[in-house]
């Protein structure tokens, strides 16, 4: 009974918060609400018996996405009022049909939602998922946790391409910055003692917890991506605390970190072709291969996400200099 109450309150508040996130006139407020929504979503994953997803949401949704958005919101705070005013003003065809764009957009959005609902209602009565298949095949995968066996064995293809997407995103950010490494990105000049303290505590603990999640991923929720995301968050914290972090890496090491996992999947895949199929390893050495691949995923995810953050968060030079000049020295 109360169990259901938890679900209803959670679902209702997520919907309301999402609405406010999008319609909030002030960007910063909207971003904090978005972070709150991420937290509520991870509670929803918990209620839907998906601890793996909750872990990923905790590390990525609450950690990295929040940081990215907070940065984006703040650097633009000054232009906020002007932008809001311009958004309200209408011209062109919008002057003749006030609100027409909104009505069309709302209609389209509702139509999509309706189609989605119809599809859900139309689902066959009997569950037709792959739970059974995964359960019977898991023995052969080399690991005892179903999600890991899907991720790194049955559908390793998907995971390989995902790692490829990460690599592409990192290349994109580097291209946008017209650079081969992140050494030109802004590093925090004056250090804050508390922050140094926090970084010194969190870095070793993050390594410990990431190692734990990596290792336990073979038999319980956890795994390489979550571990990598936690390490990435720790690297970002280092950067924020004034250490060099990932932007201290040379082009060679950055590139190696970014490409490691993609290359490892490729290599394992080709070795697999000698046994008949690309990326197929359903035999005794499965666990070893999976652990090795996961280790490369940890490294590549950590480096890539931290690099994406450093790249996306950096400001155009003269602007940040002005900010620094105005910031008073810390009194601790």
């Amino acid at each position: 009974m109360l169990e259901h109450g938890v679900d209803i309150v959670l679902a209702g508040s997520i919907a309301v918060v999402a609405w406010r996130v999008l319609l909030e006139p002030q960007l910063f407020r909207s971003m904090v609400l978005f972070i709150a929504m991420g937290l509520m979503l991870s509670l929803a994953w918990v209620r839907l018996a998906a601890p793996d997803i909750a872990l990923a949401e905790a590390a990525i949704g609450a950690g990295l996405t929040g940081i990215l958005l907070i940065r984006a919101a703040q650097t633009e705070a000054a232009q906020e009022a002007a932008a809001a005013a311009r958004e309200a003003a209408t011209s062109g065809w919008r002057r003749w049909f006030p609100g027409a764009g909104r009505i069309v957009s709302a209609a389209a959005a509702l139509a999509f939602a309706a189609v989605l609902l119809v599809a859900v209602i139309d689902l066959p009565g009997e569950p037709i998922g792959l739970t059974e298949a995964a359960a019977t095949e898991m023995e052969a995968s080399g690991v005892e946790h179903p999600v890991t066996s899907v991720l790194l064995n049955f559908r390793a293809y998907d995971t390989w391409l995902e790692v490829g997407v990460l690599l592409l995103a990192a290349m994109g950010v580097l291209a946008i910055h017209r650079t081969y490494n992140l050494r030109s990105t802004r590093s925090e000049e004056h250090t804050m003692l508390v922050l140094t303290w926090l970084a010194r505590i969190i870095l070793p603990l993050a390594v410990l917890i990431a190692g734990y999640l990596y290792w336990s991923g073979t038999h319980q929720p956890g795994g390489a991506f979550q571990a990598g995301a936690i390490l990435a968050a720790a690297l970002v914290l280092m950067q924020l605390a004034g250490f060099r972090g990932v932007s201290g890496l040379s082009t060679l090491w950055l590139g190696a970190g970014l490409m490691l996992s993609f290359a490892a999947f490729l290599a394992v895949g080709f070795i697999g072709t000698f046994e008949g199929e690309f990326l197929r390893y359903r035999h005794a050495t499965g666990e070893l291969i999976i652990l090795a691949l996961e280790l490369t995923i940890v490294v590549s995810t950590a480096v890539t996400l931290a690099a994406l953050f450093a790249g996306a968060g950096s400001q155009s030079g003269d602007d940040s200099d002005a900010v620094r000049a105005r910031t008073p020295p810390e009194s601790l």
Binding site: M1, L2, E3, G5, V6, V9, L10, S13, Q26, F28, R29, V32, L33, I35, A36, L39, M40, S42, L43, V46, R47, A49, P51, A54, L55, A58, A59, A62, G63, G66, I67, I70, R71, Q74, T75, A77, A78, E188, M192, L195, L198, I202, L205, A206, I209, L213, S216, Q220, P221, G222, I230, A233, V236, L237, L240, A241, V323, R326, T327, P328
Partner: protein, 95 residues
């Protein structure tokens, strides 16, 4: 049985606390207030996860709480570091 009802009740109570905290995000008045509310969500979220771990019998949820507790401060750190110097909240005191 009694314990299960108690735990779900506690989880619901904590979720309502979290929702009440959202009011502070909307009201502000300064960005620091909003960030403070976000910090509150972190602590409350960890509590909810721990209670649900017990209620649903899912030990893995404690790991989720662990990760949340580890990374809860990061958004705040980013906030303090990215501020456009002092006075970033001017013009919205009525929030």
């Amino acid at each position: 049985m009694v314990m299960s009802v108690f735990l779900y009740g506690l989880a619901l109570f904590l979720i309502l606390n979290l929702i009440a905290g959202l009011v502070r995000v909307l009201r502000g008045p300064t960005d620091a207030d909003r960030m403070l509310a976000a910090q509150l969500f972190g602590t409350t979220g960890v509590g909810i996860l721990l209670v649900l771990a017990e209620a649903q019998g899912l030990a893995a949820l404690r790991d989720v709480a662990l990760v949340f507790a580890l990374l809860a401060a990061l958004a705040t750190v980013a906030f303090v570091r990215a501020r456009r110097g002092p006075g970033s909240s001017e013009g919205e005191a009525g929030g």
